[in-house]
Amino acid sequence: MKSLAELKAIREKARDSVVMRKENPNNIRVVVGMATCGIAAGARPVLQAFVEEVARRGLDNVIVTQTGCIGLCRLEPIVEVYVPGQEKVTYVKMTAEKVAKVVANHLVNGVVVDEYAIGSAQ
């Protein structure tokens, strides 16, 4: 059973690694659409999977954020990936299962997962 006392242990452990990922222009940004359309289509587990996978791999150059309606509700859940110096990539109809591949191929190795990207996936 979790209790607030556990936060103390997290604090001790995290203290050394609190060189926070402040605004760095070289950071990769992952943006998940979390408006009504996104949430209803299943964006919450997708966002959770990104937060967890990025933390698990310790990718401190990746920022995971949320936004409102991206404007293509029928293709939700939608995730946009901004790698500095490259064109934005839009992944559509995302699921939590697809997240690991996007993190490994795109965020870590720089290879866009074409099969999930808009254009081929729809």
Binding site: E6, I10, K13, V18, M20, I39, V51, E52, V54
Partner: protein
């Protein structure tokens, strides 16, 4: 939307865009079998004109297009169980949304991953003071981000370990609450 916690996440997004500094979410079940979901904020509030129209799917503050389904979907879900929705709002002071669900009704959705909802709200806006209160007849628990901050000192609320803790904490407390009181 098949979980009440998804409605909570959706409605709370409105509080964030309203510029709130304090957002209180609560899920309270009473002895008569009514579950009250509420989201209260101290954001910018709504004009009386907007308040009158807010349950229409054609009322929205966004500019990309002229529909907004968050509140209408919650209202429909509540009414399907024989409950209802009410909203109070004052411009410049804040808004509170309350949805009442009849727990025993077959169309009442499960609460779902409320820990995930809190985790993602805090991940999005760690600067906002969030309180989540959950109660059933005879018991309850609360998550208060100010309390977490006191424990964490300089470690930020959106640290991955803290976010994972928040989700587990809320969901484990919920599980225990249900086991003990049902």
């Amino acid at each position: 939307m098949n979980e009440l916690s998804l409605h909570m996440l959706d409605v709370a997004q409105n509080s964030l865009s309203a510029g709130a500094a304090n957002v209180r979410l609560s899920v309270c079940d009473d002895a008569q079998g009514i579950r009250r979901l509420s989201v209260e904020d101290d954001g910018c509030g709504m004009s009386e004109e907007m308040l009158r129209r807010v349950c229409s799917p054609f009322a929205t503050s966004r500019t990309t297009r002229r529909v907004g389904l968050g509140i209408p979907l919650l209202k429909m879900a509540a009414e399907l169980t024989g409950g209802g929705l009410s909203i109070e709002s004052r411009q410049g002071q804040g808004t509170s949304v309350e949805a009442r669900f009849v727990l025993g009704h077959i169309d009442c959705p499960p609460l779902g991953d409320m820990g995930g909802t809190m985790q993602l709200l805090i991940q999005q806006r760690p600067d906002i003071h969030f309180v989540y209160r959950r109660s059933v007849p005879g018991g309850g628990f609360e998550l208060d981000t100010d309390e977490l901050k006191t424990q964490l000192e300089e470690v930020p609320l959106d640290h991955p370990d803290v976010l994972a803790f928040i989700r587990q904490f809320v969901n484990e407390q919920e599980k225990q609450l249900v086991e003990v009181h049902e």
